[in-house]
């Protein structure tokens, strides 16, 4: 349960949601302050999209509380919905309308009219780099342009909270970088952002705080530094090897410096305190236990290793 704060843009606590026998969200609660970017990091099926659907007023919840700027949120709370800008994971645009027409339509639904609407549409078109193609049908745009338009619609009415549900899925690296830059800019302008992703590097780059979600629960929450403290300064060591991997895993797990050891395919993954210092000893044990190590990869502690530590599985499993 997260303590509610008066200054928070979003406050939610104890959210629960089940679809029949499937419990999608068990108990999720967090808050977001103005100008803060909060990341929900978790694998597919962790409950991220269900959580943001409840926060955006798309779904009713079975339990818990959601407040935006102090106003309760529900599917019928039309006034509260003005505070939210949603960027769904799917491209929520009309391909047979131009970018300007898409923006004008959704702007009208948000209550914008006349000159303020025209001005804001022009601003957003400029911001997402589609001014030149504003009249062309969105169906003719590249994937990156469509993604930018998808985001532009969400922020058109200057929402207090912008919700981005995995906005870079299926986007090429160049467009992805452009999207991340524009999100950083919005955050720096004081917009509260809720960002869901299963890309660890995006969460690390964008988010002031991260909630690690798995099986409908927030397993841990905090800044990157706070979360990394959970696994200490331990590194993740991956050995690609052949031979008696089972015996090698058992032998390595017995070492005092090795916290976790697991084998998957021809890879042995270890959580090790100061991996570089203990690498010679680890390779020696692996050789003695009947494995031939072909390559070694060392990852320093990050959100991925935190996730592994907390859930026992990788983010993209």
């Amino acid at each position: 349960m997260t303590a509610m704060t008066a200054a928070a843009v979003l406050e939610c606590s104890g959210i629960r949601k089940a679809f029949g026998d499937l419990v999608a969200v068990k108990d999720i609660g967090f808050s977001i302050a103005p100008g803060e970017t909060y990341g929900l990091l978790g694998p597919n099926g962790a409950g991220k999209t269900t959580t943001i659907s409840i926060i955006a007023g798309l779904l009713d919840r079975d339990g818990g509380e959601v407040r935006l700027a102090g106003e309760p949120m529900s599917p019928n709370a039309t006034r509260t919905k003005r505070l939210v800008g949603l960027v769904p994971q799917d491209l929520a645009i009309y391909p047979d309308l131009g970018a300007a027409e898409n923006l004008e339509f959704f702007g009208r639904l948000q209550g914008l009219r006349g000159e303020p609407l025209r001005t804001r549409v022009a601003e957003v078109l400029e911001m997402i780099g589609l001014t030149e193609r504003a009249r062309d049908r969105a169906g003719t745009y590249s994937g990156g342009m469509k993604r930018r338009l998808n985001i532009g619609i969400g922020l058109l009415h200057r929402p207090a909270l912008l919700i981005l549900d995995e906005p870079t899925v299926g986007v090429d690296p160049q467009s992805r970088n452009a999207i991340l830059e524009s999100i950083e800019l919005l955050g720096s302008q004081g917009m509260a952002i809720l960002y869901t992703t299963h890309y660890m590097e995006e969460a690390e780059r964008l988010c002031d705080r991260v909630g690690i979600v798995d099986q409908g629960e927030i397993k841990a929450e905090g800044t990157q530094q706070e979360l990394v403290q959970i696994v200490g300064q331990r590194d993740r060591l991956t050995l690609t090897a052949s031979g008696a991997l089972g015996a090698t895993v058992a032998a390595l797990a017995a070492l005092p410096v090795v916290e976790d050891a697991a084998a998957a395919g021809d890879a042995i993954t270890l959580t090790v305190d100061r991996a570089h210092e203990h690498l010679p000893e680890i390779l020696s044990v692996a050789g003695r236990s009947g494995s031939v190590v072909r390559s070694v990869d060392v990852d320093t502690a990050n959100l991925e290793s935190v996730f592994l530590k907390l859930t026992g599985k990788a983010l993209r499993e």
Binding site: D60, N76, T78, K81, Q89, L91, A92, D96, R108
Partner: protein, 398 residues
């Protein structure tokens, strides 16, 4: 209301940019109406025509009245008079050569033979008999001849009864002939109104123009539900529902757009078939009421069917199937009202049937005759549409 119109306007813009909408809403029904109207045999351009021969061996006032007042006043009847029963009998067939009948008289449909003294016997209350000789090759026209004779015989019986009644109350004999003539000239206090469908038919061009218009209306009306399901699949529904508007406004916008597109399609078809092929739709106010009610019925039914669908494809397939079945039952391809019995009655479980019946009634009656078809179609639309919209609203967030 502003939000509803905003959504409707966006949908209309999308529909107007979709070429398939023009094909389905205007080109296909118009094309088929032209093909069916002109290529297939006209099913309802029947005009009665018969040739009857009269052998009046009596030449009295009663037989003359039959020829003048019954046969000659019946539209489409051509009367040929001969002198003998043999001549009359010979003419009701093809072999007329030996009697020297003209080509025109050959193969008459029926002959009436009045024996000598027929008029006198009628006036003296003696039994009388007129003979009707029918041509087997034209059974319908021969049957009509029998019906005309029976009708006249009934009339004579009525006159006899009336004259006898007058004598009874007068207590003395009266001039039977002049009394009979007076009775015959008295207007009948009861009038037969022929209300059979046979008298209320559309000409073939109008029939197919109307049939194809209402048939394709059910495809055009699907646009609203299809658009709704497309929004759900495409992800824009989530964006709509996260906006500060109600789910009812989203549904309302879709329905308004579908209503406008359907009405526009029907209006264009009515005008186009009138101008291009000369379809005679009837009283414009009556036609407008029927079209409006048909659009409501179509929207209601496709909304109900669409509420069971998960994808636009499912909705289109189910809607098309129902549209085709209702179209056939309703007689948009064949005039099932002429079939009689169960098939004719079944057309009223379809809005198509009510629409076609309404237009047929309108062609033979005043504006008030469309009230029942209009109310029936509105009932279809309100009941099915109400259920459909409730189900659709529930499913919007699914």
């Amino acid at each position: 209301m502003g939000v509803v119109w905003t959504i409707a306007r966006k949908d209309l813009k999308q529909r107007l940019r979709d070429r398939s909408a023009y094909i389905l809403g205007i080109i296909a029904p118009l094309g088929l109406a032209l093909v069916f109207g002109f290529v297939l045999n006209p099913i309802s351009d029947f005009t009665f025509s018969a040739t009857y021969v009269v052998a009046d061996l009596d030449s009295g006032p009663v037989t003359q009245a039959f020829v003048d007042d019954v046969l000659s006043s019946t539209e489409g009847v051509k009367v040929l008079t001969v002198d003998t029963a043999a001549e009359a009998e010979a003419l009701v067939g093809v072999d007329v050569g030996p009697l020297g009948a003209s080509e025109e008289a050959a193969g008459a449909d029926a002959a009436f033979v009045f024996p000598e003294g027929f008029s006198a016997d009628v006036q003296s209350e003696r039994p009388v008999a007129m003979q009707v000789i029918g041509n087997q090759a034209s059974a319908t026209n021969a049957g009509i001849a029998v019906a005309l004779a029976q009708g006249y015989a009934s009339e004579l019986t009525s006159v006899r009864v009336t004259v006898a009644t007058v004598e009874y109350f007068a207590g003395q004999p009266v001039d039977r002939f002049s009394t009979g003539v007076e009775v015959l000239g008295t207007p009948n206090p009861s009038a037969l109104v022929d209300d059979t469908a046979a008298t209320k038919q559309l000409d073939s061009v109008t029939f197919y123009a109307a049939g194809m218009s209402i048939f394709f209306l059910f495809f055009t009306a699907q646009s609203g539900i299809t658009a709704l399901l497309e929004e759900r699949r495409g992800g824009t529904m989530a964006r709509l529902l996260s906006s500060p508007i109600s789910a009812a406004a989203v549904l309302g916008g879709k329905m308004v757009a579908a209503f406008v597109v359907s009405l526009l399609s029907m209006s264009v078809l009515v005008v186009a078939t009138t101008l291009i092929v000369g379809a005679e739709w009837g009283n414009p106010v009556g036609v407008a009421l029927l079209v409006l009610a048909a659009v409501v019925a179509a929207l209601g039914i496709v909304a109900f069917i669409g509420s069971f669908a998960r994808t636009p494809e499912q909705s289109a397939a189910a809607g098309s199937l129902v549209g085709i079945v209702l179209g056939f039952l309703g007689g948009t391809f064949f005039d099932v009202s002429q079939a009689g019995g169960l098939i004719a009655d079944l057309r009223f479980i379809s809005p198509h049937g009510w629409f076609m019946q309404g237009l047929a009634d309108l062609s033979a009656g005043d504006l008030a005759v469309v009230a029942t078809p209009v109310l029936a179609m509105l009932a279809f639309g309100v009941v099915t549409g109400g259920l459909g919209l409730v189900r659709l609203k529930r499913g919007l967030r699914a």
